[in-house]
Every structure is written in C-alpha cells, then in structure tokens.
C-alpha cells in the first residue's frame, strides 16, 4: 500500500521515466530509420526550420519574388 503523500511524486517519477526513455532512446532510434533520416538530412541541407511557429523563426526570411513587384503595380 503506497502512502497517499508518496502517490503523487511516484506518479511524476514514472511519467519522467517514460518521457526520458522516449526522448533518449526511442526517438533517436526512430530518427535513424532510412526514410526519416533522409527527410531530416534534406531539410537540414535546405536550411529549413520545420519547427518555426511564425516566419520570423525561419532560417531565411521569405523574399518577395521578382514578379510580385509587378503584381503590386496592378493593385489600384
């Protein structure tokens, strides 16, 4: 029988254990699977930050393509 005061910390310790196992063992192994490793390498080569929440977090700011200047001229 677990003392009620220990139940919470024990639950937390179990969750921390699961998270640690997932992040330190499972995810690195999954990341080494050939199709996933290829995708990651391609993104790194293209300097993409796939985790960017908004454009200011991108490695490179999106630049206005040349043709867009002409488009703005069409706007009354």
């Amino acid at each position: 029988m677990i003392h009620p005061r220990l139940a919470g910390p024990l639950r937390l310790a179990a969750c921390v254990g699961i998270v640690a196992l997932t992040w330190l063992v499972v995810l690195p192994r999954v990341g080494r699977l050939p199709p996933i490793a290829r995708h990651v390498r391609a993104m790194e080569k293209a300097e993409v930050n796939p985790a960017a929440m908004v454009y200011t977090e991108l490695e490179r700011l999106p630049l206005r393509p040349d043709w867009a200047h002409e488009q703005i001229m069409l706007w009354p």
Partner: protein
C-alpha cells in the same frame, strides 16, 4: 487606466494594462538598443544584413538548440558556439517579466521569484523536449511540450504553495502577444501582390467565419470560444493564431490546449501527405506551393512541405510561394485577433446591462485591452519598417534578434502555467464528444477546397503569365 485593488489593499494596474506596459517597454528597449548599435557602413543593405542590423540584446537570449541523442548537444549552436549563458539569460528575462508584471499589478514581488525561477526552468525543459531532432523536424512545437510538462506536474504532485503566486500564464501570454505585435508587419501583406492577397484575404476569413458558424449553429458545440479557437488555428496560422484569438475571446485553458493539439497533429499529417499528393495529382508547382501555404497551419511545416515539393521537381518556386503566402497569413493575426475581440465584446459576451450603461460602454468594459497593445506595437513597427531600407533592417534586427526569442520564452512558460492549472478530467468531455475533432476536419476540408480553387484561379490562371515571367 484601469486599476485593480489587490488583496493587500495596494492599488495596481489591471493585468491587461500591465501586459501592455511590460510588452511595450521590451519592444521599445529592443528598438532603442538596435538603433544605438546601428552599423556605420552599408546600413541600408539587405545583402550585408540579411536578418537586419545585429542587435546586442540577441546575445542575452536563446533557447536549447536541436539535439539528436544527447541533450548536451542542445547547449551549443550549429557552429559549435556555446549557448548555455544566453539560455540562462533567457530564463532570467522571463523571471524579470514576471517580477515586473507583478510589481505593476501591486502584488508582492519576492513571493513570486522562487516560483518564477522554477517555471523558467520548466520552460527550458519544454524547449529541450521540442528541440529533439525528430520532434523538431516533424513540427511538434514547444507549446505542446510546455503543456505536457505542466500537465504532468499539475496532475501528479499538484501546485506547491510557493509556486502558486507565479502561475500567471495569462499575463505571460498577453505580454508575449504585445511583444509579438512587433513581428506582425502589415507591409508583409503585400509581399505576393494581388494573387497573394486574394489567396489569403478571401479564403482565410471565409473559412474562419464558416467553420465558426458551422460549429456553433449546426454542430451545436456549446462553447463558442472553442469553436473560434479551432476555426482560427485551422484557417489562419496554427498555434500563434490560436494563442492570439484564444486570448481575444477569453477561451478556457482546456479549449486552447485542445485546439493546439489538434492543429499540431494535422500539421504533421498534412506536411507529409500534401507534397506527394500535389505531385501525384499533377497540380502546377506554383499553385501547389500557394495551396500548401494557405492550408498547412504552421509556418515551419509549410516551408518544409514546399521544400519537399520543390526538391522532387527541382524547382525553388513552390517553397518561395508557400512561405510567402503563410507569411501573409501570419501578418493577418493582428487584424483577426482585433476583430474577434470586438465581436466577442459586442455580440457574444452580452451580459445584463445597467440602466445607465450604453452598449458601447459595456462592450468597452469587456474588450480585452491588451489587444490594443498588440495592435499598437504592430502598427508602430510596421510604420518604422516601411519608412526606409535602413529602418526595415533596424526593425528586423530587433525582432529577429531579440523580441521573437523573448516572445517564444514568454509563450513557453505561459503554456507551462496553463498546463499546471489544467485538470485532465476537464479535457475529457471535449475529447469524448469528438465534435471538436469533426469541426476541425470539416473546416480543414473547406479550407483545402477553397484554397486550391483560389490558388488555381490567381496563381494558375489570372496572373499566370506574370508569375511565369
């Protein structure tokens, strides 16, 4: 200025006012430091300064870097430069913001400091989880892990007494939004000219309103704020839109958590599935790029999907168009959050009106004032940005070097607070009914259909010749 009277009897600013003051001062500080350190040569050259003028404050804040199999890899950047000190200073900024906000609200600052330091460390842990290479490359953003860290603590050991005064998640998110305003530049709305405007400005509001209406009046989802947050994060730009509109319509913590979870799961699926589908269906690469930008929620995932599409076709244009359409949507957040706040105060939260109170005064009372700070920083920075090439580099240096990183920390720790205060049991009814998931799926289907139709019309037909030239 609205004031609150605290338990101790001291007068202090309202939470929204404190968020405006703190956020506004931080943006002003970033601009002032950037101006003081302006370069003497090539000050207006985008080639010399692709990310704007270097801002000295950039050295005072960073986050854990991408790591593969050992978390220690997160303490140095791609060039091998150690980032431990900037990470610790980033945490110190969060503690400073919490202390400043607490002081402005007339509360005891020393009672907040131990909890603020612990929350900043938990925010660092959430960033560390988000920085794992696989997690990072599949766009599972830090808010998800911040919520998870908070949920684990709140639902196992509960909230220790010393932590409680620092649990000011809403204040941190409001202050973060005011700081975020500096990144939401109206001039970016014109980046793709008329086709970009049509793709973003016609489809996005249409999908948002239709999804919200369908959720409230057809699916009869009892919480209007949940419908609004799901509609906004699905139609505008994912987590950042959910945060802004959630704060504007005063959504519950559980509702925001659910909307963010839905958005991130579908973002991963769409990022992986859409590029091969576009190729398989033989959709024009530029139209496909615009379609990706208009439909995938998160910016990083849009760029990744655009790159995947472009790589197969050996064409850079899909990624360019996708990223720019998404950037236009990013720039719409301020206007949409403002519109949602006005609609909520005027038409949704209609309480009993006193005999001498006008409808406008009542609506103003309910209006979330921090949105004005968000819009104000956006307007000021947009104005400065468009004044001259030098000024655009000044603003970019301040936002890319400092305010975007600070905003990330404020959101991250804000979500840790929200996670701690969220009870699993209260999430259960939302998950059990399945209706929010169905609303997201139906809304996204509408978004996919309308975005493809508009991208085909504008990028594929109306302005095709100019785009090809």
């Amino acid at each position: 200025m609205p004031h609150d009277v605290t338990v101790s009897g001291r007068r202090g600013f309202h939470e929204d006012t404190a968020a405006i003051v703190v956020g506004g001062l931080l943006v002003a500080l970033a601009l002032a430091v950037g101006w003081n350190a302006r370069p003497t040569e090539n000050a207006g050259s985008r080639k010399a300064f692709p990310k704007g003028w270097p801002n000295p404050l950039a050295a005072t804040i960073d986050k854990p870097q991408t790591w593969d199999d050992s978390p220690t890899q997160s303490l140095s950047d791609k060039k091998g430069k150690p980032v431990t000190v900037p990470i610790l200073l980033g945490m110190a900024w969060v503690v400073g913001v919490l202390a400043g906000g607490t002081a402005l609200r007339g509360r005891s600052v020393p009672s907040v400091l131990p909890g603020a330091a612990a929350l900043a460390l938990l925010g660092g842990l959430a960033y560390l989880l988000a920085a794992q290479k696989l997690v990072n490359h599949y766009n599972l953003e830090y808010p998800l892990w911040a919520l998870l860290v908070g949920l684990l603590i709140g639902n196992t050991v509960g909230v220790p007494r010393w932590l409680a005064p620092a649990l000011q998640g809403e204040f941190l998110i409001k202050a973060g939004l005011v700081v975020f305003g500096a990144e939401v530049l109206f001039s970016r709305l014109l980046e793709l000219g008329l086709p970009g405007l049509l793709t973003s400005w016609v489809v996005t509001p249409l999908v948002l309103v239709a999804t919200y209406w369908f959720g409230v009046y057809r699916m009869k989802i009892p919480s209007k704020s949940l419908c609004m947050v799901i509609s906004a994060d699905m139609s505008v730009c994912g987590v950042s839109a959910a945060i802004a509109t959630g704060a504007a319509c005063k959504a519950k913590k559980e509702e925001l958590s659910l909307a963010i979870g839905l958005s991130l799961v579908f973002t991963v699926a769409m990022m992986v599935a859409m590029p091969p589908f576009i190729q398989w269906a033989g959709i024009d690469p530029i139209v496909g790029g615009a379609w990706l930008g208009g439909t995938i929620d998160a910016t990083g995932a849009v760029v990744a999907a655009g790159e995947m599409l472009g790589k197969e076709l050996d064409d850079k244009r899909p990624a360019e168009v996708a990223a720019t359409v998404k950037m236009i949507q990013n720039s719409m957040i301020g206007i949409i959050a403002f519109a949602v706040a006005v609609y909520w105060a005027g038409w949704v939260e209609t309480g009993s009106r006193g005999p001498r109170t006008s409808l406008a005064a009542e609506a103003w009372d309910r209006f979330p004032k921090f949105i004005l700070g968000f819009v104000a920083t956006s307007v000021v920075c947009s104005f400065l940005f468009t004044r001259s090439p030098e000024n655009s580099l000044w603003v970019d240096g301040a936002t890319l070097g400092f305010t975007s990183r600070l905003r990330g920390w404020l959101f991250c720790v804000g979500f840790v607070c929200m996670g701690i205060q969220t009870v699993f049991r209260e999430l259960a009814p939302y998950l059990a009914s399945g209706r929010p998931l169905l609303l997201y799926v139906l809304g996204q289907c509408l978004n996919l259909a309308l975005s493809l139709a508009m991208a085909s019309l504008t990028f594929g037909w109306l302005f095709r010749k100019v785009v090809e030239r």
